[in-house]
Symmetry: C2
Subunit: 204 residues, 2 copies
DNA sequence: GTCTATAATTTGATAGAC
DNA sequence: GTCTATCAAATTATAGAC
């Protein structure tokens, strides 16, 4: 009635695994919980993915392949730097708000095992981001439109301002003494105020 | 010869536990590994701390009680806002660089169990931070020294810029295509350039 | 207080019927 | 492909000697 067609079992498992792994991490995740969430039994997990490790790798790769293009698509445009910043912060904060566990999941698992990226994909992020953006920033500095700034630091600033308040929510909420609703409101405001802040900082 | 005196067993255990829990998380930590690192056997862990849960709580409380005062001490001064910002970013980036696993550890475990803070301490962070700082910022806005800005957002900006590049290192290192040494150099630069960036953003 | 040995439980993985 | 039943290993926790 509602659903046109059942997803196949493999996909159902992967979706359940994403949810459990991203919330509990590799070490904390339980195959039984994934099976329950998928509405099947444990044996099926092994039938489709052989081992917990393999299933985890599929989840991790899926997360990376969802995150990385989002960054690139916005940055690799012909827009003016200020427009890029506005675009990126708005859309990226929106995106990670809806997938708030994903960046933390990635950072965590990368800490446990630094060569996960190599396994997950052949460096799709690559230096594309840098090269084009760095050139654009250096150009604006030369023209005297913005202050002199290290382009890599600027990129770190923008990413930090966008990501950290979302993933650090349980801690920051407490520091600011906010309830869930008003903290969410703060994040929503950041979709525009981060860009404003950054542009104020660099504009001449 | 080298050490003047042996630490007592309880402390040795706690130090070993800190290291393991903060790197592996509650779920990934193994009592055996903690015992090995402490140079004793598993039974001793239970003799002193009864259970893994209890030992974890001791580690978590210790982390909170190390982090929280660091923030307050710097912010609760009579300095000018700009000096506070310079002081905070410089010292805080330095501190978390030396304890890079700690903020991630706290955020993670808080995600798994949001009322850990209540157990760990009776809200030592409290609204002290806010009240005084908010008043100071509002005052400077009224005087026309800085742009109009939501003080809470400014606090989020400063914390994000200080903390995220350190805890997100495994991911950001890859995005910027840096090796360990040059990424560390980037972080070192941030001890001064973050404050410069923030002050530029708000100064009128 | 500290150790060895072991119990009790959890959990990833497999065998085998249907 | 899917299930039930079960194994094998890992892991927290305890008992009891010294």
């Amino acid at each position: 009635m509602t659903k046109v067609k059942e997803q196949n079992t493999e996909t159902v498992i992967l979706e359940a695994a994403k949810e459990v792994f991203q919330h509990k991490g590799m070490a904390g995740a339980r195959m039984q919980e994934i099976a329950d969430k998928a509405g099947i039994n444990k044996a099926m997990l092994h039938y489709y993915y052989r081992s917990k490790d393999k299933l985890f790798s599929a989840v991790f790769a899926s997360a990376i392949n969802l995150m990385a293009p989002k960054i690139m698509k916005i940055i690799n445009t012909e827009d003016h730097l200020f427009a890029k910043i506005e675009n990126f912060t708005y859309k990226y904060i929106d995106f990670i708000s809806k997938h708030s566990y994903m960046p933390l999941f990635i950072i965590n698992e990368l800490n446990r095992n630094p060569n996960l990226l190599k396994d997950a994909f052949a460096n799709k992020i690559e230096n594309n981001i840098e090269q084009k953006l760095v050139a654009q920033i250096d150009d604006l500095i030369a023209k005297g439109e913005i202050r002199s700034i290290n382009p890599e630091q600027l990129l770190l600033h923008i990413i930090s301002l966008s990501v950290f308040p979302v993933i650090g929510k349980p801690l920051l909420k407490n520091i600011l003494q906010k309830d869930d609703k008003s903290y969410k409101q703060l994040i929503k405001e950041r979709q525009t105020c981060v860009a404003e802040f950054v542009i104020n900082a660099i504009k001449l």
